[in-house]
């Protein structure tokens, strides 16, 4: 099936804070097909979480708002529908896994109940049936069904994240948005969770947007990857294309600065300078103060989007 499930075009999100206006997302466009997984890579402040929240229509609304752009999910523009309609989609057809397994579950309710609740509400099932389905899901994420009645604090971080995954997949969503789902976990637990996510995705044919700063995870689980910097997607392509031949200097910088466990005697090359404050981005291309390939035009103008056969790039000095 090659139909496009999610089509984000020219999304802009701003936050009006005491210190000023923060442009968290400045015109990003993405397309996800059914069953595909996209890795959204970037460092803190790049705008990845804001993008995820926008898709879920969960951008905290006093300071933040989606100022322009379209988010089309199965041909419905999520920016334009009423909150009531969005509630039917959220948790049901689009689901989210959060980063911190310690705080994303309600501490006063048993975990089984939290899963069953989601199912009962969205699938309109009687509670007994929902409970049964919840227990099935728990077994799927390798938690014994007898632990249905237990509370979040009785589980370890890794198990809580499994509960989170069970909850997000409970209604067979078409799209799963995972925001750094394994960052707070030990590496051996992370491996288990990633494996689990791969299995479940295969079984349910769910599309995935995985937000992470770890390129290794992207290599493991994603089909496509997009790198974000200062609210803009600077490069996008299949994992194979981008990993074998990163084009944008920022993407190249990211690859060069991580110690690679399989390499001997290589030197890591840090990216020069500091990430800019989101209150005041540099002029022209936001990466120019740190870019080894910076030229005059980079200081003046934002690079246009180049798009060739699914590969996109925003750089004045490199052509696809």
């Amino acid at each position: 099936m090659n139909n496009v499930l999610l089509d984000v075009s020219n999304l802009h999100v701003v936050y009006d804070t005491f210190e000023g206006r923060v442009e968290a997302v400045r015109g990003i466009s993405l397309k996800i097909k059914q069953g595909e997984s996209l890795g959204l890579v970037g460092e803190s402040g790049a705008g990845k979480t804001t993008t995820a929240l926008s898709i879920m229509q969960l951008v905290p609304s006093p300071p933040g708002k989606i100022s322009s752009g379209e988010i089309k999910f199965q041909n419905i523009d999520l920016n334009k529908i009423a909150e009531q309609k969005m509630r039917q989609i959220r948790g049901n057809r689009i689901s989210m896994i959060f980063q911190d397994p310690m705080t994303s579950l309600n501490p006063v309710l048993p975990i089984g109940l939290q899963i069953a609740e989601t199912i009962a509400v969205h699938q309109n099932l009687r509670f007994e049936k929902a409970k049964y389905r919840a227990q099935e899901l728990l077994e799927k994420v390798q938690i014994p069904a007898e632990r249905y009645k237990e509370y979040p604090h009785e589980f370890s971080g890794g198990m809580r994240q499994r509960v989170g995954i069970a909850m997000s997949l409970s209604c067979n969503p078409s799209l799963l948005v995972a925001d750094e789902p394994t960052s707070a976990l030990d590496v051996t637990i992370q491996a288990q969770i990633l494996d689990l996510m791969k299995d479940l995705r295969e079984e349910f044919d769910t599309s995935l947007i995985l937000i992470t700063h770890d390129l290794g995870i992207v290599a493991d689980i994603c089909d496509r990857v997009a790198t974000m910097y200062c609210g803009i997607i600077v490069e996008e392509g299949t994992v194979k294309e981008v990993f074998e031949n990163p084009l944008h200097p920022y993407t190249q910088g990211l690859f060069n600065c991580i110690p690679k466990i399989n390499d001997k005697g290589h030197k890591i090359l840090p990216i020069f300078g500091l990430p800019p404050s989101s209150l005041k981005y540099p002029s022209g291309c936001s990466f120019h103060p740190r870019c080894p390939k910076c030229t005059e035009i980079c200081v003046q103008k934002m690079p246009p989007i180049q798009s060739v056969k699914g590969r996109t790039l925003r750089c004045h000095n490199v052509t696809i």
């Binding site: 460092e43 803190s44 370890s156 890794g158 198990m159 030990d186 590496v187 051996t188 637990i189 992370q190 491996a191 288990q192 990633l194 494996d195 791969k198 700063h213 770890d214 390129l215 290794g216 995870i217 290599a219 493991d220 689980i221 994992v239 194979k240 990993f243 910088g253 990211l254 690859f255 600065c257 991580i258 110690p259 690679k260 466990i261 399989n262 001997k264 890591i268 090359l269 840090p270 990216i271 500091l274 990430p275």
Partner: protein
Amino acid sequence: MKDSLLSVNNLKKHFYISSGTVHAVDGISFDISTGETLGLVGESGCGKSTVGRLITRLTDATAGEIYFKDQDILKLNKKNFSDLREKIQLIFQDPFSSLDPRKSIGCSIEKPLINFRKGIKKARQEKVDEMMELVGLHPRLFNKYPHELDGGTRQRVGIARALALNPQFIVCDEPVSALDVSIQAQIINLLQNLQKELRLTYLFISHDLSVVKYISNRIAVMYLGKIVEMAPAEELFESTLHPYSQALLSAVPTLQIKNGERKKNLLVGGVPSPINLPTGCRFHTRCVYATERCRKEEPLLVEHSKGHWVACFLAKSFLSKIGF
């Protein structure tokens, strides 16, 4: 060992709580030579951070000895040890909470010099400027407060503070874990350069294997309060002998594109509670190779080949598989 700068012998730290005894560090021994970096790696709860705190005596040990230049620092009283504080320092993990939010960064860096009465104000301020430049900070940032700066810059302040007294040995407790990747690389390079320039010796504690491999000469792997394997960095990765080390290594995401291949998941279950330790080998509950002997007896850390220590009864069979 006579030429080692720091020598730890059977170090233990037990916490006594209502439900039992937490064996945070349960008999650790290692040596670090001058100018060397020993990486200490393990997952949460293995006790690696506690080791750092024990060496700097931020926490008191339950048992064992720590020799710094042949002197058991655990036997020194508070006054005598405080003189040693100049020589043994620590860099903290969290750049947000390791600096006093109410003090300017210049003040924080100057504090050690004031406490140890190093010269008059002018001389101290010059030293602070010198330290700031050494770690890549512009001296004009002296009056800035921590909240005005980003994580990487704050971490540099922490490093400058640790260096102010010209220490010889520095415990780096997850110094880059809280930083963005591009800044991590800057700080890692900084630490390496400083080591060369100032002839420093590091104990580098981290959960991130790639970083530890990059910066360490030797690596010790910890699990539930004990060292399970210790070897020169390259050798640990090329011939990994302990099943836990193997699992740890295979779990690290590499940049190789998987194309749908499943990574071998060698671990079963979760980490046991440090209060109710498993009998015999602590790792046997999750080990796919566990035998009857592993359930009953606890393996000692034994030198299998020069410089390569393993605590596993089955290490010899792994050795032969690799071809030793």
